[in-house]
Symmetry: C2
Subunit: 208 residues, 2 copies
DNA sequence: ACCTGAACACCGTTCAAGT
DNA sequence: ACCTGAACACCGTTCAAGT
């Protein structure tokens, strides 16, 4: 299995694999060269330098996350389906998403989703500024939630854990609340619950 | 102004200053030593190594962000005031907050705020699981929003900018929506708008 | 108890030299 | 057009040696 010529795509694939497994910090030019069986300096010929290598990985990710197909009968349902799809896509590429985020390309990555949201919010009857606000509120909510969630997963044992922080004795006459807060968060449930509440309030007719 | 003895606090102060100005990547042991006018290795005697130095900075931040005094007449208003205070605290220390976040200590940093939210949600009449869900939904919302917002600020010129992405011709029969999406986000406004919508829906009596 | 310089193993990157 | 090793300037960290 002797190597013939190194290609840019081979470099990108190997780099993506390293990043997906161990994060961007684990991607050193020397390790990558070892992985590819070439001299470190060969990589430079194909990708310029480490920074543009990472940029290329980010570019790939932006394109991959792009495609969105909403499902559901009502605009509300379709908005929720967009949210679920995005959450899944983001969760599959935590390190790469963080890198997209660091480079400020999150908006561009979310453009197709934003267009889908515009469509649904419009279908729900919202117009003009109110529609724009709703789209952005939902967009911020989805991205923000996934960022928080990802952090919680990545973090080692929280010290002290929420369960230790919430002693039933602390709660104001509400032991069931204390117990609920001592239980670990169910992110899927909280995600949908929050989004349903938000969508409901945003799509509701304006209150006096 | 000859230095007498180096103290741990001096090291931490100088390190915090470097991090606040230029981010954690700019904090190298050699630069820090130069800043303090000592040998690199002296720092190791006081703080162990770079990682525990960063840990100490994070610990400081967790304590500083702790204190919370809600204001307002209704539970809803007080929840909003907690949100605003937190947002301000977080925005003042972007780099340090990111480091707290990376170390998975966000929950602990937010414990006082969480307790305040529990109090207000309880005052609003919510009990048990529903109260716990509301607290967590609001907490995730605040943290998530600030994370997204911080990213947008930090990011260089978005390419392409949202304003270029939204050509009025694209919008489905709603030029005012397209115009609204082409305008830059007003984060303060969007933050309050989203939070009001969420709080309203969460505190409302359960719908059938 | 506190500080020091020398030394080590790692980085990313450049460059002249090869084919 | 593609690959290479040597060399440079940076890292964090250890350690024996100083006071």
């Amino acid at each position: 299995m002797a190597r013939t010529t190194l290609t840019r795509d081979e470099v990108l694939d190997a780099a993506a694999s390293l990043v997906k497994q161990h994060g961007p910090a684990a991607l050193t030019m020397r390790k990558l060269a070892a992985e590819l069986g070439t001299a470190v300096t060969s990589i430079y010929w194909h990708v310029g330098n480490r920074e543009s290598l990472l940029d290329a990985l980010v570019e790939r990710t932006v394109e991959e996350v792009g495609a969105i197909r909403p499902a559901g009968r009502t605009p509300g349902d379709r908005i929720l389906s967009v949210a679920r799809i995005l959450r899944r896509e983001l969760r599959e590429r935590p390190h790469l998403i963080a890198m997209v985020h660091e480079r400020g390309l999150t908006d561009r990555m979310f453009l197709p989703a934003q267009q889908a949201l515009v469509h649904e919010v419009h279908a729900a009857g919202l117009r003009g500024t109110r529609a724009a606000d709703a789209v952005r509120a939902i967009q911020f909510q989805i991205i923000g939630f996934v960022l928080v969630e990802r952090n919680r997963e990545r973090s080692p044992a929280q010290s002290p854990a929420e369960s230790e922080l919430w002693d039933p004795a602390d709660a104001p006459h509400d032991p069931s609340l204390a117990r609920a807060l001592a239980r670990p968060v169910d992110p899927e449930r909280l995600f949908l619950l929050t989004l349903r509440a938000l969508v409901k309030a945003l799509l509701a007719p304006p209150a006096g």
